[in-house]
């Protein structure tokens, strides 16, 4: 990776929502370039548009104007099949509210994206067990989500996000509903993945501990990129962060 390319490029993206008669401008022109293998944190107050931006990057929603490029392909140009393929193979999603399928066991949840990807049952099962092992849940593969704690469910979600070896992991406040220790474990796990597998991680968060592991932090306020900081610049401004966001 001598010459990392932009795996994600967000170009002048705006997003408006119509609420009845009024129009809400949620994103007001966002430009971003994210390189392969980077660990990016997106910080910003509640309502600043982080989730909205994530949905655009993940191909879950379309920008009002502007474009999102993944591997330099304009996502809005993709048809339904290619979009499904992108969601299945290229991107792993982790949500604040876990979004584990309640009627499936941990293992079935992890293997589902592999089934969609056309991987044979046995191979999917083996890989699923391997991933559950990675997140420390191997003994619980047959448990249903309601038998698992919040942190364990989120770990299942992490394992599921990894199922098809995605190039990008989009994690929208992955630690938002977890206690401090389990939150730390998830952050460590994500960092490990980015370091060992070269996965690009883009994570929205309110969690200051997330900053320490990030390569870059993107501060979003009111639908705009406020500033972008590299890790080495971070420690200087951390005092201010505590005041402003803590």
């Amino acid at each position: 990776m001598e010459n990392p390319t932009n795996i994600v490029r967000v170009s002048n993206v705006t997003k408006d929502f119509t609420m009845g008669k009024s129009m809400v401008h949620v994103l007001k022109g966002i430009d971003l370039e994210i390189k392969t293998g980077e660990y990016i944190s997106i910080m910003g107050p509640s309502g600043s548009g982080k989730t909205t931006l994530f949905n655009m990057i993940g191909g879950l929603d379309k920008p009002t104007t502007g474009s999102v490029f993944i591997d330099e392909i304009d996502v809005s140009q993709l048809d339904a099949y290619e979009l499904a393929w992108l969601r299945c193979r290229k991107i792993g999603y982790i949500f604040q509210t876990f979004n584990i399928i309640q009627v499936m066991t941990a293992l079935e949840n992890v293997t589902l994206p592999m089934i969609f990807a056309g991987i044979p049952d046995d191979a999917a099962r083996d890989k699923g067990m391997e991933l559950l092992d990675l997140v420390g849940l191997k003994p619980r593969f047959q448990h249903k989500p309601f038998e698992l704690s919040g942190g364990q469910q989120q770990r299942v979600a992490v394992a599921r996000a990894l199922a098809n070896d995605p190039a990008i992991i989009l994690a929208d406040e992955p630690t938002g509903n977890l206690d401090l220790t389990t939150g730390d474990e998830i952050i460590k796990l994500l960092k490990l993945l980015s370091r060992e597998k070269g996965v690009t991680i883009i994570s929205a968060t309110h969690d200051l501990k997330m900053l320490n592991v990030s390569d870059r932090v993107i501060w979003v306020t009111d639908g705009r990129v406020d500033r972008i900081e590299n890790r080495d610049e971070l420690s200087i401004s951390l005092g201010k962060i505590d005041e402003k966001w803590g």
Partner: protein, 227 residues
Amino acid sequence: MQPETKLKKNLPKKQVVLPFLKSVEIAVKSIKSRFFRSLITTISLILAISFYSYIKTNSYIISGIVFSENKIAIQTLSQGGYEIPATGEQYNTTPKERWILFLSLLVCVVGIVNTQLMAVADRFREIGTMKCLGALDRFILKLFLIEAFLQGFIGAAIGALTGAGIALCGSLIKFGTLAITYVSFNGIFISIASSILLGCFLSLLGVLYPALLAARMQPIEAMRGRD
């Protein structure tokens, strides 16, 4: 042939799939883990189909009795309000029976649409999650249709057997063995089979609109849990 396809050259042309057997497996698990909801969906179908099967089977039994040319039995029948056909002809259901039958089937379909709409609302998150994992609209449609077919088949089979059973027992009590001496067992088989088919059809009909709604839902809409 179109130049614009060049735009997507970097993305390998690969497909997401959901093999049929896998979707059956998922559907079966889903029915099992939502047993009560499935039961509620199925109960109105069981009732309507058992009524249909009862009427059908009964008409074959009556035809059998008419064929027997047993005066007393035929008299009992006409006293019971049945229109006795000429000897050798098939007994046909009365307009009143047909009307009640039609109403019961209609109520049944409306009931299925209703419970399936609730089921879809309950499963917003699940549908959204599946779509985020790469499910196509038709995967969702497929899962809902298979579930409805299985529910329909089981419900209709229970209903069909119950209805035919009640009709047979009832006439056995009334007419003794005469009720089944001349009955066409082929006919009874046909009424059970047609009841099961009808049940599957109604179940699929009832789920069609809710399933289309579910399948067309955008993943974020589904995730936000709004309607």
